[in-house]
């Protein structure tokens, strides 16, 4: 019990004094998650829109599959990426394994189903009457599309925040393809995992508190958006 208490006080000290190691790891985590989510947004928000705005055979099934992947295990995505970028894999010669790029690629793939699926839901939540009103007012197809995405902007933003939350809190994938290299690919979650097994509880608790704090901010942002 005293160990836990000591760990907690030391952890708070680390945070208050802006300990360079702690801050660096936190900043790295945020950066990875932000970059991976941005990339995923650029690719999968349009993809979600395309799926929503088009009618095709098997659409319902496709959406069901996408939704199933919301909760894909991070280690499964890690394994998938690993197979492709390991020395023997098809992209082995790019030397991506155990680099930040590998983590970003993995996280982007991890949040892809969330961003795609929730974008589809968000656009589906826009009243049919909005679409018809736009058409009545003389909007062409692309103008109507832009308007509907604007109408759904808060729900789409909520989807992006959900994706960000998933990316920043995952550990299996970063560990497998990032390698938890100090000062290079070590993130909050991989550091907690390592430091705990080493018995360095202070650092783990400090990083855990930061992670919880980030989760809190994400939750507040989501709640705010859902009230719009």
């Amino acid at each position: 019990m005293t160990e836990l208490w000591q760990g907690l006080t030391k952890a708070i000290e680390l945070i208050i004094t802006l300990d360079p190691e702690v801050m660096q790891i936190a900043a790295r985590s945020l950066t990875f998650a932000a970059i991976s989510c941005s990339i995923a947004t650029l690719i999968f928000l349009p993809l979600g829109s395309v799926i929503h705005f088009n009618r095709f055979y098997g659409k319902r099934v496709l959406i069901n599959i996408i939704q199933t992947f919301y909760s894909v295990p991070t280690v499964a995505v890690g394994l998938f990426v690993f197979v492709f970028i390991s020395r023997a894999g098809p992209f082995g010669n790019l030397g991506l394994l155990f680099t930040p790029a590998a983590i970003v690629i993995g996280q982007a793939l991890l949040v892809a189903p969330i961003i795609t699926g929730l974008t589809i839901s968000a656009l589906g939540g826009v009243d049919r009457a909005v679409t018809e009103t736009a058409i009545s007012l003389g909007a062409n197809r692309s103008q109507t599309t832009v308007l509907i995405i604007r109408e759904a902007r808060f729900a789409i933003l909520a989807a992006l925040i959900m994706g960000f939350g998933r990316a920043i809190s995952e550990v299996g994938l970063s560990l497998m393809v990032g390698g938890n290299i100090r000062g290079f690919t070590r993130t909050i979650t991989t550091a907690i995992s390592l430091e705990t097994s080493k018995g360095d509880l202070e650092l783990s608790i400090a990083l855990g508190i930061i992670l919880l704090f980030l989760a809190l901010i994400i939750n507040i942002a989501l709640n705010r958006l859902q009230q719009r």
């Binding site: 009457a129 009103t133 058409i135 009545s136 007012l137 909007a139 308007l147 902007r153």
Partner: protein
């Protein structure tokens, strides 16, 4: 020349036929009211004219040209009209952006848009609302935004689908005023669907009655309210007294109709033996305590069976061998001390009786 012409237009949703072989022509600058009960096909007709849907069969001509069933031309034609839906759908944007969107989509210059938006918001009485979130507006305000958003486009054809159906009386009056103003000032061809007959009468020059997907009668408000073509129209336009009878005599255009033993005189050219309905508007019946000397040819002794008040008016049901409903002012109802069982005389003129042909089924 007509701006809109509809030729044998039919439309079905699945197996349900909503419009059945409609023919209609509406001239440039005309204000046309489409009246009919809920579910009669008014909205469907407007949606077809606005090119939101493609008719199952039949053609629509706009400005002399047949509208194609698909292709880019539909957008071009649609951009010459505006459609105001029954439930105003404002976009989740500011009032300014809501009103401006149609012009922006047409590629209007930015400063021109700003000018026009300011002008139109002033016209609908929403000046200073530019930056308000449109979602926070009241129903009446939202409908005015919808109206502004449609009118800013200066459409050649304005389509209105029950624009006041969800509004309180004050907002309704404001919207009606605006529609009349636009139609009058800008010579905008207007088609308005409504189930409120008085609204149609007030605003429109010509009225079409749509019943169960058929355009049963078109004509001036006077024609339709005074001489409905058949029983259904009569029923719908509020001719509460529709009595079955047979013409037993016709003396130079004044027909005597036998109604279960009582004789009513009416202006009609139908021959003897014709089975008809006699329609009498409740406001054309006067009630008095004694048989009055007046020009009313028809006067019957009657007994009051029911009195109900409607604002300043009282609706009085009497029995004079047949059932009649009369509308009198509340004041005269009180003066006559109208109550159940009271003996009165119900009178109406021969010109106040509308003879409608009864189709033998």
């Amino acid at each position: 020349m007509s701006l809109i012409e509809v030729v044998s237009l039919s439309h079905s949703y699945g197996a349900r036929e909503v419009l059945k072989g409609l023919n209609l022509s509406i001239g440039r600058g005309e204000v046309f009211a489409l009246i009919g009960p809920t579910g009669s096909g008014k909205t469907t007709l407007l949606r077809l004219i606005d090119l939101l849907e493609v008719p199952s069969s039949g053609e629509i001509y706009f400005d002399g040209k047949c509208i194609p069933k698909s292709g880019k031309q539909r957008l071009e034609i649609r951009r010459r009209m505006s459609f105001i839906h029954q439930k105003p759908q404002v976009f989740n944007l500011s009032v300014y952006d809501n009103v401006a969107c149609g012009l922006r989509w047409r590629g209007e210059r930015k400063n021109r848009v700003a000018e026009k938006v300011d002008h139109i918001l002033e016209m609908v009485g929403l000046e200073g609302y530019n930056n308000r979130d449109a979602r926070t507006l009241s129903g009446g305000e939202a409908q005015r935004v919808a109206l502004a958003r449609a009118l800013i486009l200066e459409p050649e054809l304005l389509l209105l689908d029950e624009p006041t159906a969800n509004l309180d009386p004050v907002s309704t009056a404001k919207i009606e005023q605006l529609i009349s103003y636009i139609a009058g000032q800008h010579d905008t061809t207007t088609i308005m669907a409504t189930h409120d007959m008085s609204q149609g009468q007030q605003i429109a020059g010509r009225i079409g009655v749509l019943l169960e997907g058929r355009l049963v009668q078109t004509g001036s408000a006077h024609d339709i309210f005074r001489s409905p073509k058949n029983e259904e129209v009569a029923n719908f336009v509020g001719m509460e007294n529709i009595i079955e009878g047979v013409i037993v005599a016709n003396n130079e255009g004044v027909a005597t109709v036998n109604i279960g033993g009582s004789a009513i005189e009416a202006v009609s050219s139908y021959p003897v033996g014709k089975e008809v309905y006699a329609g009498i508007r409740p406001e054309d019946i006067t009630l008095a305590l004694s048989r009055t000397q007046s020009s009313a040819r028809n006067s019957f002794q009657a007994k009051v069976t029911q009195v109900a008040s409607f604002g300043p008016l009282s609706r009085v049901e009497v029995n004079c061998g047949f059932r009649l409903v009369a509308l009198v002012t509340k004041m005269s109802a009180e003066e006559l001390n109208l109550q159940n069982g009271r003996e009165v005389y119900a009178s109406f003129k021969a010109t106040g009786v509308y003879i409608i042909e009864r189709k033998s089924s």
